[in-house]
Symmetry: C2
Subunit: 234 residues, 2 copies
């Protein structure tokens, strides 16, 4: 039986082997939800950058630039970290250079994997359908918050473990905990997350609609995949 594992924060990535694995990177609030939305709306590619200045420099190459730190759009960038910004017709066929507090860092730590795909609740079933067709073991990498564990990414991991459990065996305790937490939360994830640190943080920033949207299941039937440094539709 193939195995499924969960890395609860990018800071634990040195403990995991990435070779020969398919990695699913998740940053529910909101990087991978934005990426999924952008790819669903016809963006040509998304190039993740760890550093703000490297990302902003891509403006000169006719990229749209997306920059977020601490939940807020950074001055000088075209786009922030709200999925609603990625639904515009003007982005269709365009290239986006993207940097966020946690999500792009999680992607950077996943380099070396056989395959890196972008997961969110918005494309949960599309991701799970893809994973059923591959031979690799799976590692879900939660973006967390500045290296620490967060609830919303762990819930996504639990949802995916639940969907895959007939074919993939949990490798250690992290997927078991994620599954248990998801089973507690799934009837009303929004209510479950009301006390979570990032939902509170975003409520202060008035992005309550973003949170609701990012917790919507299976809005888009796309699997964004990273190849040669660019995220594109599979």
């Amino acid at each position: 039986m193939k195995s499924i594992d969960v890395c609860l924060t990018p800071d634990l990535m040195p403990l995991y082997k990435v070779q020969d694995r398919t990695i699913v990177v998740v940053d529910i609030l909101r990087a991978t939800s934005c990426m999924t939305t952008a790819i669903a709306f016809g963006v040509h590619s998304i190039t993740p950058f760890a550093k703000l200045e490297d990302c902003l420099a891509m403006k000169a190459m006719d990229y749209f630039t997306a920059g977020e730190r601490d939940g807020k759009k950074v001055d000088g960038f075209d786009l922030g970290n709200s999925p609603f910004e990625y639904m515009h017709e003007s982005l269709r066929g365009g290239k986006i250079a993207f940097t966020t507090t946690n999500g792009t860092q999680a992607i950077a730590r996943s380099v070396g994997a056989d395959e890196i795909i972008i997961g969110s609740f918005l494309n949960l079933s599309a991701v799970s359908n893809h994973l059923r067709q591959i031979q690799n073991n799976i590692l879900i990498v939660c973006a967390g918050w500045k290296g620490k564990f967060n609830l919303e990414d762990t819930l996504f991991a639990g949802a995916l473990v639940e969907m895959m459990k007939d074919q993939f065996e949990p490798e250690c305790d992290a997927p078991l905990a994620a599954l248990q937490l998801y089973q507690c939360a799934k009837t009303d994830m929004h209510a479950f997350l009301q006390n979570s640190s990032h939902v509170k943080r975003l409520a202060r920033l008035n992005v309550v609609e973003d949170v609701k949207f990012c917790l919507t299941l299976d809005k888009y039937d796309v699997v964004p995949v990273m190849r040669e440094g660019e995220i594109k539709k599979l």
Copy 2:
């Protein structure tokens, strides 16, 4: 209101401030359960060592030596990692040099805290009574398994968060997750942990009775505390 936080594995300790905190170190299976038992049975002190050879060298200083790696007692040591070994009359008043796969590493990473105490289900209420009397914020440090998250230490963290929640506010998502998991598990922790990686590992080593014992609540009314490198009864 004072705060309570949970560090899910020692590998995440660089993200946490330890100064001015009381740290509760937990390694349910089985280091901190053994330490609690030993102190309850009248051992004078326990000195934790990260390295096997440093620990073994203490034999020359009339210490009992306790050494465990990968769940098994190490050749040449007097004691292993079963709490039942620490109930012998011969240990009363003695000094123990102690090294384990995870527990002593978690203690080493906690150095610098205002206070370090040893927690287990065996002394849960004693620990919580002590914490009610102090002014510090609390950080629970889970020993995990070789840097990774584990369920049993997280359940202990959740139990302590539950007991303290009238006086201490969860600082981020880790204590919320631990609390939720404990609430799922508490009616039958043994059953809940049957699929956990370490309980399976120990079952293979035939230490099923150890696991049952380590999940017993409030067997001992002692608070082992670390001072100047030694763990003693408070």
